[in-house]
């Protein structure tokens, strides 16, 4: 674009009325504003978690800072168990769902015929069903199968949902990979399956990594399934956190401390995995 047309573009509308560089400054302020809006509750949460129980309602004016709350929640066996369970469920759900979605996405991308078409329609229908409406039927299913309040009882519904959501994304990844690479592998000595494992899968790895991170975070943060499909045997962190609200009152300080603990792995993954997520979703 020439300088003249740039100047013409600047001179019109609201931004044109600003001094030179004004649009840029405005943008920076807007960006900071948006960040503050999102960061402020987390900041408040952190402050609350560092306050004694008596001062959670005047977080802004008190001066006592303590890490006692963290020790207190970490001394509760249920919190420790929930941390372990949440980690286990998120990790297993990620491994299982990616195992299925990688093959299912590949099938949807590469094969035509009755089986892929039926599978695609099935996924489509399930995607259209509101998430919330799955919970109650799943509750009865898990009760009938005798897996209510067990690892399987939570894991399988998670995997089922992920398969529906992620098969489409995975199909997109494989659509972006040239199939002739697999043909070359088949001529080079691989079977059809071998071409998928040794050529297509490594080529889709950035995308799969991104999906793995998102899948893990999603399961780690999930609340509704965990609330309905588990009870005392398999405590899950998001549910345990909510249980600090009870008849005796609300233990905001302990809830905040647990929330901060729950936030940590998610934050770490977001910070260190961001590169892979952006890179992966771009292919």
């Amino acid at each position: 674009m020439t300088d003249v047309s740039l100047a013409q573009q600047r001179s019109v509308g609201f931004f044109g009325a600003l001094a030179p560089g004004g649009a840029r400054i405005l943008f920076i302020f807007a960006a900071i504003g948006v960040c503050l809006i999102f960061a402020f509750p987390v900041f408040w949460l952190l402050l609350t978690s560092l306050r004694p129980a008596s001062e959670v309602f005047n977080v802004q004016s008190g001066s006592t800072i303590t890490i006692e709350n963290f020790f207190e929640v970490l001394e509760q066996p249920v919190v420790l168990k929930a941390l372990f369970n949440s980690f286990l469920i998120a990790t297993l759900a990620t491994i299982l769902s990616l195992g299925v979605t990688a093959t299912s996405g590949y099938m949807l991308s590469r094969f035509r015929g009755a089986i892929p078409n039926t599978w695609f329609s099935l996924i489509y229908v399930f995607r259209c069903v509101p998430y919330v409406s799955w919970v109650l039927p799943l509750y009865f299913v898990t009760i009938n199968l005798g897996i209510f309040d067990t690892y399987w009882g939570l894991l399988l519904p998670h995997v089922a949902v992920h398969i529906c959501f992620f098969s489409w994304i995975m199909k997109g990844f494989f659509d972006g990979i040239d199939p002739s690479m697999e043909y070359a592998a088949m001529i080079d000595g691989c079977s059809r399956w071998g071409a998928f494992i040794r050529v297509a899968l490594p080529a889709a790895l950035p995308g799969i990594t991104a999906l793995a991170l998102l899948c893990w975070l999603y399961t780690w943060n999930e609340f509704l399934f965990a609330l309905i499909l588990t009870a005392h045997e398999v405590p899950i962190l998001t549910v345990v956190m909510a249980q600090f609200v009870h008849e005796m009152g609300m233990e905001w300080h302990l809830m905040s401390a647990t929330a901060i603990i729950a936030l940590a792995p998610a934050l770490l993954i977001t910070i260190f995995g961001q590169k892979y997520v952006v890179q992966g979703l771009r292919i």
């Binding site: 040239d178 592998a185 088949m186 001529i187 080079d188 079977s191 490594p202």
Partner: protein, 369 residues
């Protein structure tokens, strides 16, 4: 020994026939080119030979062994793809080694084969790079290397030069030609570019709508095209065609079209007898038209109005309107000056005329030499 034999090979997708009754015997070490417009079935035929596409009917044998039901990996072939199809997550060296490692070839032999292929293709400095760090030409050279290291019975090329720019394409064409001498292997090369076909092929197979139109050496196709499609597809600029009515006149056939009439001796064109009272298409290559008036019986004249000149430096091409249609005259001295609208007189020798039936397969009405 025979290289590749295709017998009545057919490919159908539901009711659509992609390849019909394809018969071809490719000799050992022969370089055959399949050429035709998009959708003519040339790539499908190649993919059937590779085993990437199922064969609906007929048999394909490689080195005397029927391969219809063999996996691609068991056919002892190597293939170069249009978009290179290099394994992006591997280095160039690993790309070359992949096929050999799959066949459990000893490491020392693999290293030797890679070194040899890299030397032949001058890709030694690239061995440790990733494919996406290479230019299009370099990538295609690596793809060729991947074929060479395997030392297969047949090389298959699926439009390998289409993604390269014109200059690089010409260069790679030469390199493939040179490669043929250094690594003589039975090869099948698919292209839609008739220049590639003419320059590379020992024999060319021209295809259209899934049907083989003609098989022959480049010169055979150029000099004696079997039908109008082959005549118009091979040669550049394309052959000129004029519709003409045929009448018998003593020892001659009288052909008359819009703005054009001439006579052809009976004994040179015996097949034309069946077309008396009908129309035929007369074809002549732009290179076979000369400026000036015809002299004697062996030549026919064409006169028209000059519409456009195309100056190419080493020649100029004149577009002349005869009756209602334009014909091209090539190989004209670039120094000559013409004014648009001028009357241009040209002639062609009778032996350079090609006559085709007006209807059906538009087969050639062969002349007698």
């Amino acid at each position: 020994m025979t290289g590749v034999v295709l017998k009545n090979v057919q490919k159908k997708y539901g009711n659509v026939t992609a390849v019909l009754d394809f018969n071809l015997e490719i000799k050992d070490r022969e370089f055959v080119v399949f050429v035709g417009p998009s959708g003519c079935g040339k790539s499908t035929t190649l993919r059937m030979i590779a085993g990437l596409e199922e064969i609906t009917g007929g048999t394909i044998s490689i080195a005397g062994r029927v391969v219809n039901d063999l996996q691609p990996k068991d056919r002892d072939i190597a293939m170069v793809f249009q978009n290179y199809a290099l394994y992006q997550h591997m280095s160039v060296r690993d790309n070359l080694a992949f096929g050999l490692r799959n066949r459990r070839v000893p490491t020392a032999t693999i290293d030797e084969a890679i070194a040899r292929a890299a030397r032949i293709l001058s890709i030694e400095p690239l061995l440790d790079r990733r494919p996406r760090q290479l230019s299009g030409g370099q990538q295609q050279r690596v793809a060729l290397g991947r074929c060479i290291v395997r030392n297969p019975k047949v090389f298959l090329f699926d439009e390998p030069l289409s993604n390269l720019d014109a200059q690089l394409r010409a260069q790679m064409r030469l390199e493939i030609k040179e490669l043929r001498h250094r690594v003589p292997t039975t090869s099948i090369f698919v292209t839609h570019d008739q220049v590639e076909a003419m320059t590379l092929g020992d024999r060319i197979v021209v295809m259209k709508d899934g049907v083989m139109q003609q098989v022959g050496t480049p010169l055979e196709l150029y000099r004696t095209p079997a039908n109008r499609f082959v005549a118009s597809f091979i040669g550049s600029p394309a052959m000129n065609f004029v519709d003409m009515a045929v009448a018998s006149e003593g020892d001659n056939f009288k052909l008359s079209g819009e703005g054009l009439t001439f006579k052809l001796p009976n004994q040179r064109f015996p097949k034309l007898g069946n077309s008396v009272g009908k129309h035929v298409r007369v074809g002549v290559r732009p290179q076979h038209l000369r400026l000036g008036a015809p002299s004697g019986d062996g030549q026919v004249g064409v006169t028209g109005k000059l519409m456009v000149t195309e100056q190419l430096g080493d020649e100029q091409i004149l577009v002349v309107r005869v009756g209602g249609q334009d014909i091209r005259v090539a190989d004209v001295d670039p120094e000559l000056d013409f004014s648009t609208g001028a009357e241009i007189e040209t002639f062609a020798a009778i032996e350079n005329l090609h006559l085709f039936e007006q209807s059906g397969s538009e087969a050639s009405l062969l002349r007698v030499a």
